[in-house]
Amino acid sequence: MAPLLAVDDRIVDYLPVLILFLFAIGFAGLNLVVSWLAGSKGKHNPVKDAAYECGLPPITDAHQRFSVKFYLVALLFVLFDIEVVFLYPWAAYFQEPGRQVFLFAEMCVFAGILFFGWWYVVRKGAVDWAKE
């Protein structure tokens, strides 16, 4: 266990990170100070304070409710998307001599079960947006 868990942290090696942090904080702070010094003061009114002073006035709340269909499609996407990840180890292993037939059959079964799921989803009308 000992070599696997050996700690080797020479704190000096983190000096560049510290310098980067200092630069980041200094840059942000400098900008704030300069804009506070150079900016004109005392002209507050609601139009000036709006997020887009010259644009269209914002209407309604940004926190709208989305149709539940978005949620369903997003979920289905995530599920089918993540299954594709299994193709990578399979593809990496496929060159193994003597096992190609088995591996191919294996992936056919896997894809077959996935397609069964897809058929179920379509048949249930989960991706059928026109129908209400």
């Binding site: 266990m1 696997l4 868990l5 088995f102 069964f116 179920y120 249930k124």
Partner: protein, 498 residues
């Protein structure tokens, strides 16, 4: 490749997919007719394949092992699955949709249980257990319009997901500490190098995750709410299948990681770990069951108590230094799991039929004078309660007897286990009290006007499952040698295979 070895699993998966497909393609007027038949026949076929085919050997490059242990687990899962389909059929007939999904999910969950006995590494353990738990979340929340079912699903989900996360983190830690995920090399590592702190942490987290699954105290708070809120057939499923899968995994983890350390200082620490959990679970489950008025909640607390007896067997298994006693203890746990499975399924069949009257599960209304309203149901419930209490000649007695016997055996190498035996005996006395209260309600009281019609019509499927239950309860209590022999073979295979 030995595909024939996993034929039972293939049959059940195909049955689940077929149940979904058949229900989806059926015209609206015939929805829900075929799905229970497809599911029941697939499970029956799988049971026959396991019992008569006696698959033996490894497949998938050593990732799936068919031996006496996995055969026992698969037979319990598929045979018990047939009973669950019989309980569910009257329930799903009253649903207006989702029949195929219900049976599909049930069968996929059962495949998870079947595989749990056959896995040979931590990866398989995690994936199969998740197959079981994730499908269980949906089943617990299946009654979408019922607030209580939705709530049961949410609670089960949050607790179950936390326990899975613990289990997974423990698995990752064990993998890092021992450098391997295969059970065989894990126990070789423990034999050779003992428990490093990291390995102990990982094993502890895995055990905590599994204690959540079997609702051991102090990880039990979800069980009463979920049992009460879930649809009754699903409650039967959770208390039988889900629990037995948890104990199969506890047996596996104990035999792989904990038993090789027996006799050392860390081995003694594990004995206290299991012993404390067992005695707390026993006392809490049986004490908290006493004031319960709702029969489903009562059975939930009683199921926590029964988890305590099975943990008692596990504590004996961990404590003893004698390999024979170890096999005795594992046999006791397996027989207890089987007997509890039969008993609880029978009890929940009765609960399902009674609650179909729509008058709830309260003891003093829905169950008052049950023997006048349906002698068959009252008799089945009586036998189930006596078996839960461990009264001869019921199935529950043999499980309890074997557990106490193994505790006595373990006391020779670890005298403090005797305390656990005494706690167990106290639990038996406590449990008799609240089971007798319910029996008095059914037999000595007059039917309550709020309890529904004067006679209860028992659906044909429920009648079959009640008959099987009664026969098994009495038959197993009197003629238990075959089950004992099979369980002993399974226990020997458990230790031989690691």
């Amino acid at each position: 490749m030995n595909l024939h070895l996993i034929l039972p699993e293939i049959v059940v998966v195909a049955g689940g997919m077929l149940a979904v497909a058949v229900d989806l393609l059926a015209p609206a007027s015939r929805k829900g007719r075929a799905a229970p038949w497809v599911a029941g026949l697939a499970l029956l076929a799988a049971t026959l394949l396991v019992v008569l085919g006696r698959p033996e050997g490894t497949s998938f490059f050593g990732h799936h092992r068919s031996d006496a242990f996995s055969r026992f687990v698969r037979a319990v899962a598929t045979g018990g699955g047939v009973l669950l389909v019989l309980i569910s059929a009257p329930y799903t007939r009253r649903m207006d949709r989702g029949h195929g999904e219900f049976y599909g999910l049930l069968l996929f969950a059962l495949v998870g249980v079947m595989l749990v006995g056959a896995v040979t590494d931590l990866m398989g353990l995690f994936v199969c257990l998740e197959l079981l738990t994730i499908t269980s979340y949906v089943l617990a929340a299946f009654k979408r319009t019922d607030v209580r079912s939705a709530e049961a699903g949410l609670k089960y989900l949050v607790v179950g997901a936390v326990s899975s996360a613990f289990l997974l983190f423990g698995v990752a830690t064990v993998y890092g500490a021992a450098g391997s995920v295969e059970f065989a090399s894990l126990s070789a590592h423990v034999v050779g190098k003992g428990f490093s702190p990291l390995l102990a942490l990982g094993t502890g987290m895995m055990l905590v995750g599994l204690f959540f699954k079997v609702s051991a105290v102090p990880f039990h708070v979800w069980a009463p709410d979920v049992y009460q809120g879930a649809p009754t057939p699903v409650t039967a499923f959770l208390s039988s299948v889900s629990k037995s899968a948890g104990f199969v995994l506890l047996l596996r983890v104990a035999s792989v990681l904990v038993v090789p350390a027996a006799g050392t200082a860390s081995g003694d620490a594990w004995v206290s770990f299991f012993g404390v959990a067992a005695s707390l679970t026993l006392l809490y489950g049986n004490l908290a069951a006493i004031p319960q008025k709702d029969v489903k909640r009562l059975l939930a607390y009683s199921s926590i108590g029964h988890a305590g007896y099975m943990l008692l067997g596990l504590a004996a298994l961990v404590a003893t230094a004698d390999p024979t006693v170890r096999v005795d203890a594992a046999t006791a746990v397996l027989v207890y799991v089987f007997a509890y499975y039969v008993t609880t399924t029978t009890a929940f069949t009765v609960v399902a039929v009674v609650s179909a009257q729509g008058k709830g599960h309260r003891a003093e209304t829905a169950y008052a004078g049950l023997h006048r309203r349906s002698p068959l149901l009252a008799f089945a419930m009586l036998l189930a309660l006596l078996s839960l209490a461990g009264v001869p000649p019921m199935a529950g007695l043999i499980g309890k007897f074997l557990v106490f016997w193994s505790v006595v055996g373990a006391a020779q190498s670890h005298p403090s286990v005797v305390v656990l035996g005494l706690v167990g005996a106290l639990g038996v006395v406590l449990s008799l009290y609240y089971y007798l209260l319910l029996i008095r309600e059914m037999y000595a009281k007059d039917p309550s006007p709020e309890g529904g019609p004067a006679t209860i019509r028992v659906p044909a499927a429920a009648r079959v499952s009640v008959a099987i239950g009664i026969a098994a309860l009495v038959g197993l209590g009197i003629y238990w040698a075959p089950v004992y022999d099979v369980a002993r073979g399974a226990a020997e295979a458990l230790f031989a295979s690691r």
